[in-house]
């Protein structure tokens, strides 16, 4: 079974063509890094898989079904909002709002919802963080809570939008290892969105690289090289490998601007 399949898909955002005629498939159980510069269409692609926007052309299939809004088989972690860090509510309460948030009424969690929340928190190793308010958690700890929230409902596919943003190298590694482990344990596909390649190198089975309305999929070596990226960016690209790290350069300017030298 394919977790995600795109057949000649065209996506638009605000009247602009973000993807045109893109085809690829991701098998169930694969850990895929979704890469590309800011504005390359990563979030738009996730929203199309979630059934929140309709493709302007082509067909998307998610777990062998057309995308539908409210698909309980997809676990989704949106990009973290700054406002969240100021909320005094606890990790447990935060996970719980996703457990029953689609029902009307007063937010008192049922026993089943509490059980689901604890299970999800346990899966990310955040049971001991659950009672603490989000304000007191570090960036990495907060990301764990967000991943737990995405795991509510036993998803068969996990979509994570920039989980590494504003994390230091050590925390980035923990989050990647955690997601990798969860994906393998549950046997589900993970689409891990990031604008940095290097932290993901060790973990991903393959990368899906977006640029210039096009997409390239394959192993790291197959995709992240001069010819393929030059085609994607529409300009001459050099890929330089130094000490196990990859630098993507255009006219000697590093495109992966977020790559930090302290990331070993």
């Amino acid at each position: 079974m394919n977790a995600i399949e795109f057949a000649k898909v065209t996506l638009t955002y605000g009247g602009r063509r973000v993807l045109s005629d893109v085809s690829f498939s991701i098998p169930q159980g694969a850990f895929v890094g979704l890469l590309g510069a800011n504005g390359a269409g990563k979030t738009t692609m996730l929203r199309a898989i979630l059934g929140l926007i309709k493709p302007a052309g082509g067909a998307i299939s998610v777990l062998d079904k057309p995308p539908t809004r409210g698909n309980a088989d997809i676990g989704y972690m949106p990009q973290a909002r700054r406002a969240l860090a100021q909320t005094g509510i606890s990790g447990l309460d935060f996970v719980l709002i996703a457990a029953g948030g689609h029902r009307w009424g007063w937010p008192v969690a049922s026993a089943t919802e509490k059980e689901a929340a604890w299970k999800a928190l346990e899966a990310v190793g955040a049971s001991d963080l659950a009672r603490r308010p989000l304000t007191e958690l570090s960036g990495g700890e907060r990301q764990r809570i967000l991943i737990a929230q995405a795991l509510i409902g036993d998803p068969k596919l996990l979509l994570l939008d920039e989980p590494l943003i504003s994390l230091d190298a050590a925390h980035q590694r923990t989050i990647i290892d955690l997601v990798h482990e969860i994906g393998e344990r549950l046997g589900i596909a993970v689409l891990f969105c990031s604008h940095e390649i290097n932290p993901l190198l060790r973990a991903v089975d393959r990368v899906l690289y977006l640029g210039n309305g096009k997409a390239a999929i394959g192993s790291v070596d197959e995709v992240i090289n001069g010819p393929v990226l030059s085609e994607l960016y529409g300009t001459s690209i050099n890929v330089v490998r130094v000490a196990g790290r990859i630098f993507v350069m255009a006219d000697d300017v590093e495109l992966e601007g977020e790559a930090h030298v302290h990331d070993l």
């Binding site: 979630l50 929140l52 809004r69 409210g70 698909n71 309980a72 997809i74 989704y76 972690m77 949106p78 990009q79 909002r81 406002a83 969240l84 909320t87 005094g88 509510i89 606890s90 309460d93 935060f94 709002i97 996703a98 029953g100 948030g101 689609h102 029902r103 009307w104 009424g105 007063w106 937010p107 308010p133 007191e136 929230q149 995405a150």
Partner: protein, 274 residues
């Protein structure tokens, strides 16, 4: 010995403050949580021409105010993110006050009441108005309870809520309607210009001091009622306007909570280091 409660207008004022404090505290909590406080402020202003316009055509100002705020609330709800533009809100706000002024110009007899609409006149509330406020308050609270769960989800994780199938536009529009009704209630106490003091100051203070939604809501409501009660008492003792005291106490509570929050954070940081 005469007490503050010997006067009927004082008793009514306390009733009204209790009712409005509870509603403003509850709805205000979600307003602050959603980062829509400025929208609440704007709704009140849009109510001003409603009140003066109603006076012009011989209707009750409260009725006109409520109709205008509710229509504006639906508008803000439907516009969604697009309504969060400082310039657009500011311009609508100014136009509203301008229109209100125009209606006053045509209906000069209403001018004496204009100050009441702008700054509130809690001591002028009669028992009938208290009952109207109370009935409306119960309706607002029931509706808030009914939408609380998806509202919380849509407020804290809008993208995820949308993906999970929560009708976030419907939820936010319903909420803005509740904000509109709450605003017209609060205007009866503090007036169009000072609605922030009752709807936002206690709620923002509560959010700083509490963890957990239920605790936050409770503190917000208690704080709003307490501030209103103390303000009434101070107004009685000093003969200064109640609305002034509500703004002063609301601001003080907010400032003190900021200091408390910072010292708590410092203590925690110190604990963490030791």
């Amino acid at each position: 010995m005469s007490t503050i409660f010997d006067y009927e207008f004082m008793r009514n004022a306390f009733y009204a403050c209790t009712v409005v404090g509870i509603v403003a505290g509850a709805v205000g909590y979600f307003l602050v949580l959603r980062g829509q406080t400025f929208a609440g402020h704007a709704l009140a202003h849009v109510g001003f021409p409603g009140a003066t316009g109603a006076g012009l055509v011989g209707l009750s100002p409260f009725f006109g105010l409520t109709v205008f705020t509710v229509i504006a609330g639906i508008g803000i709800g439907l516009l969604g993110e697009r309504a969060h533009r400082d310039v657009a809100i500011g311009i609508v706000l100014t136009l509203s006050l301008g229109l209100g002024l125009l209606f006053l110009h045509f209906y000069t007899a209403f001018a004496s009441q204009a100050t009441n609409v702008l700054f509130g006149n809690v001591l002028g509330i009669n028992l009938r108005t208290v009952i109207v406020l109370a009935v409306l308050a119960v309706a607002i609270l029931v509706a808030l309870v009914l939408i609380a769960r998806p509202l919380l989800f849509a407020s804290l994780q809008p993208e995820l809520a949308e993906a999970r199938g929560v009708p976030i536009n419907l939820v936010s529009t319903l909420f803005m309607v509740l904000v509109a009704f709450t605003t017209s209630e609060a205007v009866q106490i503090v007036g169009v210009l000072l609605v922030f003091a009752l709807m936002v100051a206690p709620a923002a203070t509560a959010l700083r001091l509490t963890q957990g939604v239920l605790a936050g809501l409770a503190v917000s409501m208690v704080l709003a009622v307490t501030i209103a009660w103390i303000s009434l008492s101070l107004a009685y003792l000093t003969d200064w306007p109640t609305s002034f005291w509500i703004t002063a106490l609301g601001t003080s509570a907010y400032l003190v909570s900021g200091i408390a929050q910072r010292s708590m954070a410092r203590r925690q940081a110190a604990d963490g280091r030791s």
